[in-house]
Assembly symmetry: C2
């Protein structure tokens, strides 16, 4: 497969994506399909967050109005307003998961959780209903506490005991540790049971800490870590481990918020990969000798965990080798504009347009 | 002392500062005195670097033409062009030190060193002449080598074996490990002999990694590290250890290079503290209960190591408490502009103008 000039991938599925609201959503929602994907697992951290079934269905309808071809799997934002009854209602309405954000850790997470015990009745209902719990697995930083020493670099490893405890308390609850960035997280998930999976982004397969030091376009949460951490992500993809799969965490922001910091206003956290996602992932996997694992990573593994097998008539995305083709510098629609990861750099694969 | 409303500091000395060239130098050189300092230990990483005695003396004359009051201690840039004879010539001309930059690690370091053995004849001559070796103590990152795992986060601890080896080979050579950022570096220097000292910047007493994640104004090399690392810097200052002293590494860049990254061009590395330096250091030391160590940290310790005791008639800088005073948003001269660290934030001390 690695020497072929074309690759055919059945029903690529992005199991973690931010499709935003309003005009920005009008611009970026279509990029799911442009990037080769036919399924989007949609994050609920809007302003305000998606906290109940009605809001999720309304948001889904808005996304379908923009691009009806993509299958949108919807999620709720874990908050004190959620109830076991609402979980059962959400399940009946086809909502797939609940996303937990630690308070203040990333974009629009001010309403996030501080401890999990209070949510055990919710998790019990989710386990009964077979819904998925999606975890942004980071502990909030505590720079003024040198004893705990928690900062963006160890926020993920420090979260793992919570994952282990949750899995022990709810062994049948399907849990996804989102956007893993460390060897510790990879090892932890591997050692847990079959109800625990892990998404990996494209950009975390490419970046290390040096890449975002002074380079705001590569700044996201969780931040990219040490070279050995990136290596662990690559190794588990190369291994083809069935509980590890793509969730792009593609997170568009207006260029002004990404490019420019003032002394009082940092840049926005997020890397935007949607419009180039499948070619980029193919390019990266090939760079570390794992092109034969592409279909499992971008489709099969995640679909199996989410119990969303590709349909017999599912779309197949065809990639072909290309030389000297550069990623667009930006995409725009009206006043909205987004700059992709890898802008104006070469990718060795492109999507073959449908006949 | 910590409850007084004024503090009198004898002859503050900044043992690591970047005074730049041309119009930017015209703007920033006067900020040494504005920040309360009467001695500047001047870095040689200009474009091109200061590589010999003549260039250093010419640069010194340029700085004296801008502000003749400050005492400028000059340094040479360690490079293959340097010879033992040039070291002896530099010593006779009053040049104090030689600065070593690992290749490519920070601003204008492309001509820096790759290994030290080739420079042993230089170091021998420096030891004989009692000149000071100033080390930017970082190993170049190797993101493509997950086994070595070297990145901006461990570049300094990974350098320490080189410091230990250099000190063992040249026990009488005075060596300064510049701008320490880690507990490992502090412990290492403490465990070495009296000929090894260490500078600490103001901003590394304030920042941790979270502060520069997405915030380019706080991005510098070495990057600020974990909360526990910052705590180690604070502890050694609080201890009043005589071989640890201020070197601001104040490094101005045009705001456009600090504020804005493009996908292909990261922000410049450097934090600019000169115009507010003594009030800022007083503010920070007070925040961790070390105001009684201020004079040693900003004057006595460094002057003792550099054998530059304050003269009997030395200038005394007087600080007084102030409430609600904010740091200027910027300083400008002609087309040049610089934005300071802590811009528009409050500092609890100000310099009393001379009568």
């Amino acid at each position: 497969m690695s020497f072929a000039d074309t690759l055919t991938i059945t029903a690529p599925a992005d199991f973690h994506v931010h499709l935003r609201q309003g005009a920005l959503s009008e611009l970026v929602t279509g990029h799911v399909r442009l990037g080769g994907f036919t399924l989007a697992y949609v994050m609920p951290n809007l302003t305000p967050p998606i906290k109940n079934t009605e809001e999720a269905l309304l948001y889904k309808a808005q996304l379908q109005a923009i691009d009806p071809v993509v299958e949108y799997l919807m999620t709720l934002y874990l908050s004190p307003e959620l109830t076991p009854n609402e979980i059962r209602k959400a399940k009946r309405a086809g909502i797939v998961g609940v996303k937990s954000y630690p308070r203040g850790v990333t974009t629009n997470s001010d309403g996030g959780i501080e401890s999990y015990e209070a949510y055990y009745p919710i998790f019990r209902a989710m386990e009964e209903e077979d819904m998925v719990l999606n975890l942004h697995g980071e502990i909030p930083s505590a720079p003024s506490d040198p004893t705990s020493n928690i900062c963006v670099l160890n926020a993920e490893p420090s979260f793992l005991p919570h994952l282990i405890k949750l899995h022990a308390a709810f062994p049948k609850l399907r849990i996804v540790l989102e956007h893993a960035t460390t060897r510790a997280a990879v090892e932890c998930v591997k050692n847990l049971g079959d109800t625990v999976a892990c998404t990996i982004t494209a950009h975390h397969l490419a970046l290390t800490v040096d890449d975002w030091a002074g380079q705001s376009w590569h700044f996201c949460k969780p931040v990219a870590k040490f070279p050995d951490d990136r290596q662990a992500l690559r190794e588990v993809v190369k291994e083809g481990h069935h509980r590890f799969f793509l969730g792009s965490d593609s997170a568009p922001h207006p260029p002004t918020k990404k490019a420019t910091a003032t002394p009082s206003q940092p840049c926005a956290a997020g890397v935007y990969t949607s419009p180039i996602l499948l070619p980029l992932v193919a390019h990266l996997l090939e760079s570390f000798g794992s092109l034969d694992k592409l279909e499992g990573f971008v489709s099969g593994n995640g679909r199996a965990f989410y119990q969303r097998p590709a349909k017999a008539a599912a779309q197949k995305t065809v990639l072909r080798r290309v030389g000297g083709k550069k990623v667009d510098a930006k995409w725009a629609k009206g006043d909205e504009e987004v700059v992709p990861f890898w802008a104006e750099k070469e990718i060795g694969w492109e999507i073959v347009p449908e006949a």
